[in-house]
Every structure is written in structure tokens, then in C-alpha cells.
């Protein structure tokens, strides 16, 4: 069989043989494809699942676990599923998704009595959870503000970089995390906001910053909002943890409400993955505040036009669950109770972890464990220390030292504290 190396198409090899003969391997088109790097976050769970050790602990991916380390399906969700079972309609949703779900979702972010809602000034579509909402926005930004860039905090959820990159929007960073204090580098952050060209696009985490758990205070948010006004910047909020941070969804939306009070026209990505435990259902919402109803209609039509060649219309099941829950006052009450329960458990684990570490006589300060908020704790551990945790103690987390507190239980917090102490005690 003659082998020909194609010029101009790297890596393709033509093996000629009888055309039509069974099993004649004709051209190998994909030989030049390299294996992709493992996703740093989702790859952790893969590794965890493959580990046979009985002591293994998964504090990698941000998926809530109960105190037995088990995934949780909320009662309100189970009840909603019972109600929608036998649903006689699996027809395509409109491109913008479930209208009911979107309406209820906007109330959560913008407030039940928001004038913006009454005046129909919000362009909103159902999206594929938080990722999908961010990606739709990034594509929208590229199409309609083609010369813009996105300012992304350091650090941020790793996938933010992938999303804006694949949307071909150039990225800049702004200071956020202060390693020395394990808190917010507010001064540098404000400098970066001031120094960015007027009218820049900024990605902000509305609450429970991922991965650091470090949020601006209310006063700090007001200053940020003010400076955004001065500079005419655009604020895009990624809100993946509403309800999960403090236990109170209204409180967790405070940053957004401050910006809205100040008259900003914001964008917002919302996700039900964590706060309703609907991870695998991929339910979320993208909203963009507009100057008037007409503009909102136009913007929504463009968002739909971006969604059409990506997935045509969004999946129905999770959306039905959400609208069933939020549309029923009793179910909604139950949900609020369950969300608070999850947030409280995490806050309890933060306290327990810190106390354990202090009891072990750690030379380091672990104050940040209880100061930080939400699902994640940015421990301050180095990649090497994290690797030791994994190799020696079968504890799985991302190499940036981010601990998913949702994976901490009364059963494993002692083991975890001990392991962290062992790898950090020599400083």
C-alpha cells in the first residue's frame, strides 16, 4: 500500500488501496489531534472516583453533599418531579426557553417588585446553567461590542477564561484576591477599575466568589458601583450561588441590587445547579437590562439567534422543576428552607474545620476559613501541598488550594484538618 504524506494538511496520511474494499483504512484525518489537557476541576472528580482508598475525600468539585457525603436531591425537587411526571408535552420550548421559569428567575435576581420587570426592560432567556449563560453573553458581547474586552478577576472560575476565549473576546484581568490576607485586595481592584478605559466590560461574582470565597462588603460594593458609574463600565454578574452564600437569596443578591439602584444597565448569569441541586439538568438564565421594552425585545431576539446554532432551544426538564417550585408558594417556602439548611451546614463545617486546625496547634492563621463565604475556601495551600494531600491522604481538590466546603462532613473534617496541618505545619 502506497503511503502519501499530504502537503498542506499536517498529519494526514493517505493509504491507497482498492476503493470499496472492506476494511481498507483510507485516509486518517485525525492523527494530528493532541490529547486535550484534563479539565482542572472536573478532572479531580475523575481521579477521585478512580481511587480505591477507603479514606478518600472529595473536596474538589463544587457539588453539595450532605453530612454523610452523599449527593442531595432537595425534597422540593422530588415533589416537583412527581407533579410533572406524565407531563404530556415534550415539544420544543421556544428558543428563549420556558417563559415561566425565566420570569420567576428574574424575580429572584432583580426583586419581586422590580420596576425593571414591570417595565419589561429585561431581555432574558433560559440558558444552559451558568456556563451557558456566560457563553451566550460572551458571544453577544462579541457580536455587538466587537471591539470590547472582558476584565476578569484574579483568580476566577477556570472556565470563565475558556468561555470568553472560545467566544473570541480578548481578556484582561483585574486584581481581586489578596494572598497575604487571604482576603480582598480592594485598593488594587479599585485602581484597576479606575485605570481601565471608560466603558470597559467587567465580570463580577455577585456573591460567594469562586474559588476564593472572598466577597466585597456592602460598603465596598457601593464604592465599586460608584466607580463603575464614573467610568461608564459595564457590569456582568455571574451569580451561581444565590441563597447558598448567606442562606438568604435576597441578601445574596445585594451586590446586584446596589448596582441597579445606581441605575446601571447590567448583565447577569444565574444558575440553579447549586441552590436547587439541579446540576445535571443544566438550568439557568441570562438577562441583560435595557433602556426600554423595545430594546429588550431586540436584545432578546439576538440572544435567541445566538442560541439557535448552538443548541436550538434549551432542555425542558429542569426548567419545569424550577417553575413548578417557584410558582407554588408552599414549594417555594420549602426550597428556601432547604437552601438555608445547605448554607448553614457549610457555615458549620467552616467553623469546625477552623477549630480543628487551631486545636492541632497550626502555626498559621485559619481565620479566612470562616471569613470566606459560600461553597469554597481558598486555603492558601500551594500546588505542592495539594499534591501531597492527594498522594498521601487521598484528599482531592483543585491544585489552586480551593477546598469545596460542601464536601466536608462531621465524619471527615477531623481527617481533613489533620492532613492539612501535616502538609502545612512546616510553613
Amino acid at each position: 500500500m502506497a503511503q502519501l504524506l499530504r502537503s498542506g494538511c499536517s498529519g494526514r496520511v493517505l493509504c491507497s488501496g482498492a476503493v470499496g474494499a472492506a476494511r481498507s483504512m483510507s485516509t486518517a484525518w485525525w492523527r494530528h489531534v493532541e490529547p486535550a489537557a484534563k479539565d482542572p476541576i472536573l478532572g479531580v472528580t475523575e481521579a477521585f472516583l478512580a481511587d480505591p482508598s477507603p479514606n478518600k475525600v472529595n473536596v474538589g468539585v463544587g457539588a453539595y453533599r450532605d453530612d454523610n457525603g452523599k449527593p442531595v436531591v432537595l425534597e422540593c425537587v422530588r415533589e416537583a418531579e412527581r407533579r410533572i411526571a406524565g407531563n404530556l408535552n415534550m415539544e420544543y420550548l421556544p428558543m428563549g426557553g420556558s417563559v415561566n421559569m425565566v420570569e420567576e428567575t428574574l424575580k429572584l435576581a432583580y426583586g419581586e417588585n422590580s420596576d425593571l420587570l414591570k417595565d419589561k426592560r429585561i431581555a432574558a432567556v433560559q440558558a444552559l446553567s451558568g456556563t451557558g449563560a456566560c457563553r451566550l453573553f460572551a458571544d453577544f458581547q462579541k457580536r455587538f461590542s466587537p471591539d470590547s474586552q472582558i476584565y476578569i478577576p484574579v483568580p476566577t472560575w477556570a472556565n470563565h477564561h475558556n468561555i470568553w476565549r472560545d467566544a473570541h473576546v480578548p481578556q484582561r484581568t483585574f486584581h481581586y484576591y489578596h494572598p497575604q490576607s487571604r482576603g480582598l485586595d480592594f485598593a488594587s481592584m479599585m485602581d484597576d477599575i479606575k485605570n481601565a478605559p471608560n466603558g470597559s466590560f467587567f465580570l463580577l461574582h455577585a456573591c460567594a466568589h469562586n474559588p476564593t470565597g472572598v466577597d466585597p462588603s456592602e460598603e465596598q460594593w457601593r464604592e465599586i458601583s460608584h466607580q463603575f458609574k464614573v467610568k461608564g463600565h459595564f457590569a456582568f454578574f455571574d451569580m451561581a450561588y444565590q441563597g447558598f452564600a448567606s442562606g438568604d437569596p435576597e441578601r445574596d443578591a445585594k451586590s446586584i441590587r446596589i448596582f441597579l439602584e445606581d441605575g446601571h444597565l447590567i448583565g447577569c448569569a444565574q444558575s440553579y445547579a447549586k441552590n436547587m441541586g439541579l446540576y445535571g439538568q443544566r438550568v439557568g438564565c441570562l438577562s441583560v437590562v435595557c433602556e426600554d421594552e423595545k430594546q429588550a425585545v431586540a436584545v432578546k431576539s439576538q440572544l435567541q439567534q445566538l442560541a439557535r446554532p448552538m443548541y436550538s432551544n434549551p432542555p425542558v426538564h429542569g426548567a419545569l422543576i424550577v417553575s413548578t417550585i417557584l410558582g407554588d408558594p408552599d414549594l417555594k417556602k420549602l426550597w428556601l428552607k432547604e437552601v438555608k439548611g445547605m448554607a448553614d451546614r457549610i457555615i458549620g463545617m467552616r467553623t469546625a474545620l477552623r477549630e480543628n486546625l487551631e486545636k492541632l496547634g497550626s502555626p498559621l492563621s485559619w481565620e479566612h476559613v470562616t471569613k470566606q463565604i459560600g461553597m469554597f475556601c481558598y486555603s492558601g495551600m500551594t500546588p505542592e501541598q495539594v499534591d501531597r494531600l492527594t498522594k498521601e491522604y487521598h484528599i482531592y481538590m483543585t491544585r489552586n488550594g480551593r477546598i469545596s466546603m460542601a464536601g466536608v462532613t462531621t465524619g471527615n473534617v477531623g481527617y481533613l484538618a489533620n492532613a492539612i496541618h501535616e502538609v502545612t505545619k512546616s510553613g
Partner: protein
């Protein structure tokens, strides 16, 4: 303000119409004889099983549900197929056909930057949007012959031959959308010949497996013909129509490679592309498919229901054909209605004529002359025949 979607916009307009004889032959969603949406019994059974089991809702891996990926590739190629046995196919769960096509387009853009995709003229309206948004250049090959209301086979072969070597050729595995015109098995062989000659890469869109003829295996024969030749190719699958799972958004992208090692690498790159699009795919539909296809009893039930659905469509085709032939005295040959296959029929009506169908007769269809037989009841065949004859002869 973005223009209304040419396909999904039709249903919106239909909903707004209050005329009693209105008929929605727009979007390709199956309807029963009573023109009601249809949730397959086998799907209800599967969902009940799932409800009883009370499974969790954790994230799927980026590539989707493993059980689903396994059964979907086997359904397409046959479990005993060499490709499956040798693990040479990279399968990733996608957001129905659209999402799977988009993943493939992104893969093409990344690894074959500058290579073109050849798409049939006409083709499903969203194909162009997908390649445009993925920044993959495309051009058309002749497909539909208005004179015969059939396949322009010679045009198709010429255009595929004339394209630069190493182009991707988008083929509809069965039940071509919008025309309903499929190549014969002999024609498929010739198409495969010319693709191999030109070192093109076949790229199948399989949205109607089982729906076209009523048989899952028969409808996969074009794809399996290419597999038997040892060719590498891509296939996007959808369960929207054949399992009625439209809104669950369940499908898959399959890349058949020359070795299992290459398939692993390709799969990893598909994952890399999916992560910044939606992180991981929705679970519900995947579980339904895995349960139905993976359970012999449910699988049999499914095959029966599919035959019923395909059977209803064949019978309205016959009734429509009979009505047209009876009412049209000109001797025009309406047999293309019978020869075309699947959910859609290309009537041969032009823009203006299609508009007349809507404006005068309240028959909603797409402007390219496509009608969805899935939306036609035998009770309305005569009315439709009247509308078509009026539009065809009285409007130019």
C-alpha cells in the same frame, strides 16, 4: 432586531392564527392523527422507572452519560460493527442534533482551519447558521431537482467532485430535510466512491433514524455502508423525533477514526470544546434513551411505536397523493409525494405559492415549499390537496 427564525417562527405565527381550518405543517414535530403532540409510551415507562429509582441529579461528565454514549453508537453502527468492536468511534453526548453538529463544526474549525463543508442545496435552515457561527466556510452541492422534484444526482456528484480535496461533505443519513428525497443504495455507493476519490470526509446528520422507513437498521444503512469501506467520518444524531424527546435536547456526535488511540484523543478535544459551551450536557434525556435502548423489552416497545409513527406518515402521504391525483386533472405527476421519505415533503411550491398557502388557506409551512407530514391528519388531506393545487396553478 433579529429576524424571526424561518422554521421556529412558523409555529409562532400558527399559534396566533384563529382560523378554524388552520394547519401547522411547519416544524417537524410528530403529531397523532388528532394532531396532538405524542409522548411515546416507552418514554413514559422509562420515566416512571427513573422516578422510582430516585436517581440523583449530579453533573454528568463533560462527554455525557456513559451508558447513553454506548447505546447510541451501537444503535447507529450496530453493536457487532468493527468500529465498535475496535473502539474506533469517539462518541460525546450533545444537545440534540444542533448541539452535536455545533461540536463537530467547532472541531473542524480547530483542526481543519480553512476546510470547507459542502452542504446540500437545499438543506435544513440551521445548518448554515451553525457553520457560520462556528466560522467554518461552506458551499453548496446540487441536490434537489425541481424538474423531477427528485434528486439531481449528476449535479450532486459533479459538485462533490469539483470541491477542493479534503472537504467535508454534509450528508443526511436518511429522510433528507427539507426535501424527503434520499439517494438509493446504488447512488450511495457512487457518492462514497467520489468522496473516497477526492479524499473528502463524510459528515452525516442522522436526525430520523427509524422514522424514515420505520426500521432503525434500514435507516442506518447509508452510514454503515461508509463504515464498511473503512472510511473515517462524522455522525451527528438526534433523538428529538424518533423518541419524541424534542425538548430534552438529546443527541450525540460520533467521530469514526482509524484507531482507538486517535478516537480517544478526538474525544478529549470534543470535551475541551464542550466545556466552555455548557460544561456538561443535560441528564434527563440521556437517561431516558439509555433506559429505553438498554432494556430489551423497552427497546422492542420502542421499535413498535416507531413503526406506528412512520406508518402513519406513510399513510397520510398516500392519502395526500390520492387526493391530489383525484383533484388535479392536468395529468401532473404527484408521485413524488409517495417517493419522498420521512417527515417532510418538498412540494415544489415557491415562495409566493407557499405564502398563498398561509395567507389564503391558513396552512403554515416554510417558504421553501416544505411541508411536515407529521403535522397532517388524514382528515385534512383533502383540504391540503385543495390548497396545494390552488397555490400551484393560480399563483406564480
Amino acid at each position: 432586531m433579529a429576524p424571526p427564525d424561518p422554521i421556529l417562527g412558523v409555529s409562532e405565527a400558527f399559534r396566533a392564527d384563529t382560523h378554524e381550518m388552520k394547519l401547522n405543517l411547519g416544524v417537524g414535530a410528530y403529531r397523532t392523527e388528532d394532531l396532538q403532540p405524542y409522548v411515546l409510551n416507552v418514554v413514559k415507562k422509562a420515566e416512571n422507572l427513573m422516578l422510582e429509582r430516585g436517581e440523583n441529579k449530579e453533573y454528568l461528565p463533560i462527554e455525557g452519560l456513559a451508558a447513553f454514549n454506548k447505546v447510541t453508537a451501537e444503535l447507529l453502527l450496530g453493536a457487532q460493527n468493527d468500529v465498535i468492536q475496535q473502539q474506533r468511534v469517539a462518541t460525546v453526548q450533545g444537545l440534540s442534533g444542533t448541539g452535536s453538529l455545533r461540536l463537530a463544526a467547532a472541531l473542524i474549525e480547530r483542526y481543519f482551519s480553512g476546510s470547507k463543508v459542502l452542504i446540500s442545496s437545499p438543506t435544513w435552515g440551521n445548518h448554515k447558521n451553525i457553520f457560520n457561527d462556528a466560522r467554518v466556510p461552506w458551499s453548496e452541492y446540487r441536490y434537489y431537482d425541481p424538474r423531477t422534484v427528485g434528486l439531481d444526482f449528476h449535479g450532486m456528484i459533479s459538485d462533490i467532485k469539483a470541491a477542493p480535496e479534503g472537504s467535508f461533505v454534509l450528508l443526511h443519513g436518511c429522510a433528507h430535510n427539507p426535501t424527503g428525497i434520499d439517494p438509493t443504495p446504488e447512488q450511495w455507493e457512487s457518492i462514497a466512491d467520489v468522496i473516497q476519490e477526492k479524499n473528502h470526509i463524510p459528515f452525516f446528520d442522522v436526525a430520523y433514524q427509524g422514522f424514515a422507513s420505520g426500521s432503525l437498521d434500514t435507516d442506518a444503512s447509508s452510514v454503515r455502508l461508509f463504515a464498511a469501506r473503512g472510511m473515517e467520518f462524522l455522525v451527528a444524531q438526534s433523538y428529538s423525533k424518533n423518541l419524541g424527546l424534542y425538548a430534552e435536547r438529546i443527541g450525540a456526535i460520533n467521530v469514526v477514526c482509524s484507531s482507538s488511540d486517535i478516537a480517544k484523543r478526538v474525544k478529549s478535544q470534543l470535551k475541551r470544546l464542550a466545556r466552555p459551551m455548557y460544561s456538561n450536557p443535560p441528564i434527563h434525556g440521556a437517561r431516558i434513551v439509555a433506559n429505553v435502548v438498554g432494556n430489551p423489552e423497552l427497546f422492542n416497545d420502542w421499535k413498535e411505536e416507531m413503526e406506528l409513527m412512520a406508518g402513519r406518515i406513510k399513510s397520510v402521504r398516500k392519502k395526500l397523493y390520492d387526493s391530489l391525483s383525484a383533484k388535479d386533472n392536468s395529468g401532473k405527476d404527484w408521485s413524488f409525494v409517495l417517493k419522498q421519505i420521512g417527515m417532510f415533503s418538498f412540494t415544489g411550491l415557491n415562495d409566493a405559492q407557499s405564502e398563498n398557502m398561509t395567507n389564503k388557506w391558513h396552512v403554515y409551512m416554510t417558504k421553501d415549499g416544505r411541508i411536515s407530514l407529521a403535522g397532517l391528519s388524514s382528515a385534512k388531506c383533502e383540504y391540503l390537496a385543495d390548497a396545494i393545487i390552488d397555490s400551484y396553478y393560480n399563483i406564480s
